[in-house]
């Protein structure tokens, strides 16, 4: 059912293109970009670019999750620390992640790490903020249960606070996953000569609108699949 709308759009698009309403050099047409996409898939370039882009995004998400959940849990548990950190967070968070591209390029050169570092910065904030709020919102009674069982603090965090906060943390990770893809592709379009973003830039510069469209739709499809996989993570609550 959900596929009816995009399929109708593609059909209309094809018609308008064949009827000469949509300029072919910009809008290409669905039949052409499916052919271009199939060709890029078949010769392996699309898959290699996908591995590059989504590999960098995944790396960014893992780094941001580890850092964001760790710092967020600490800030969520200790109110005074949260207050102390507030100024630093408020000062760093508004920095646009893409503004870090030149710096990241200096540090990492043209590499997957360059994209991942910028994306990790962007993903860190939503995970940090959501984790802090989720851990702060954990029922104090659960923490007391841990204290009554004489668990040391790290065990209270791992066995009680984090599992109780997990549904909230997962929302943050899901939001960050989308950001990771956006920022990674951006770095590839702007500077980093690799991945799907660079592929689109190159295709556009060599006047291959069908390949630009094919790659763009492919990013959407793979991103959708990644989000679906994140939602299906077997986490019980």
């Amino acid at each position: 059912m959900g596929a009816a709308f995009p399929l109708a759009v593609l059909a209309l698009w094809e018609l308008l293109s064949r009827g000469g309403v949509l300029a072919e050099d910009g809008f290409s047409r669905p039949s052409r970009f499916f052919v271009a996409g199939a060709k890029a898939l078949a010769d392996g370039t699309l898959l290699a670019q996908t591995a590059q882009t989504f590999g960098a995004a995944a790396q960014a998400l893992v780094i941001a999750t580890v850092a964001g959940v760790t710092v967020g849990a600490i800030l969520g548990l200790f109110r005074p620390l949260e207050r102390a950190a507030q100024l630093t967070i408020d000062a760093l968070r508004p920095i646009p992640s893409v503004a870090l591209i030149p710096l990241s390029l200096l540090i990492f050169g043209f590499s997957r790490e360059m994209s991942a570092a910028v994306a990790a910065f962007a993903c860190f904030w939503p995970i940090l903020i959501v984790t802090t709020a989720a851990v702060r919102g954990v029922d104090p009674r659960l923490i007391e249960v841990g204290r009554l069982l004489a668990f040391p603090l790290p065990k209270i965090v791992l066995k009680l606070a984090l599992p109780a906060a997990l549904p909230g943390i997962l929302v943050g990770i899901r939001v960050a996953a989308g950001i990771a893809i956006v920022v990674t592709v951006t770095t590839e379009i702007v500077t980093n000569p690799r991945g799907l973003g660079y592929a689109m830039t190159m295709a556009a510069e060599s006047l291959q609108p069908d390949l630009v469209w094919a790659t763009l739709l492919w990013v959407g499809v793979v991103g959708w699949a990644a989000n679906w996989a994140l939602e299906k993570l077997p986490i019980r609550r």
């Binding site: 009674r141 009554l148 009680l160 599992p163 019980r236």
Partner: protein, 250 residues
Amino acid sequence: MLEARGLSVSFGAQPVLRDIDLTVAEHEFVCVVGPSGCGKTTLLRALAGLTPISSGSALFKGRPVIAPQTELAVVFQDYARALLPWRTVAGNVALALEARNIPASDHAARIAPLLAKLGLSGDGDKFPSQLSGGMQQRLQIARCLAQEPEVLLMDEPFGSLDAITRQQLQDEVARLAKEEKRTVLFITHDLEEAIYLGDRVIALARVKGNLAGRIAEIVDIALPRPRQQLATREDPRFLQYRHRLFRHLE
């Protein structure tokens, strides 16, 4: 076993408990009864090491209680908040075994008899949300027993259960306390429940003027055990205790 000596607790400038002296002997079942706001729960929390004491002391086996310890288990009234919703019934009991560093391979063998004792056999793989309120409270009690505490501190444990479930659990807790030879400090606002369960009933009341709770009276309950919901509550002595203690609740 458990003692309060001149125990006072204040929240800021507000005194909550003043000069509480009480002793709970080994294997004794002591009930604390009082109107809401008299500091009953604060007393239990102070004895458990959860709430800091302003002056005086809480003692367990003669040693001051300054932090929670596994020998003292607390059964909270709001069982739903004290259970881990992401763990199964067995998993919730296992938490107490993990606290005692019992190897995971031994858990199943230790959990099964506890669940059986509390009528939860067959529910081990369910999640707390799939249990009724009474069953959830049984689960919390099972977890506390898995802790193998010497003292059970129970904070209005049946306060949010229906009357029938409450009576069943009263009898089961009375039986378990005697069978397992646990010492129990039981907080309630229900005078009849206190008399029915207790070897001794301590009435807390608020001091007029400064609102801090203090002990109004301590009564030994000389009713035979095992007690029975109908016969015990109709015993003339039961009614005398009720008359005698009732005035502290007004």
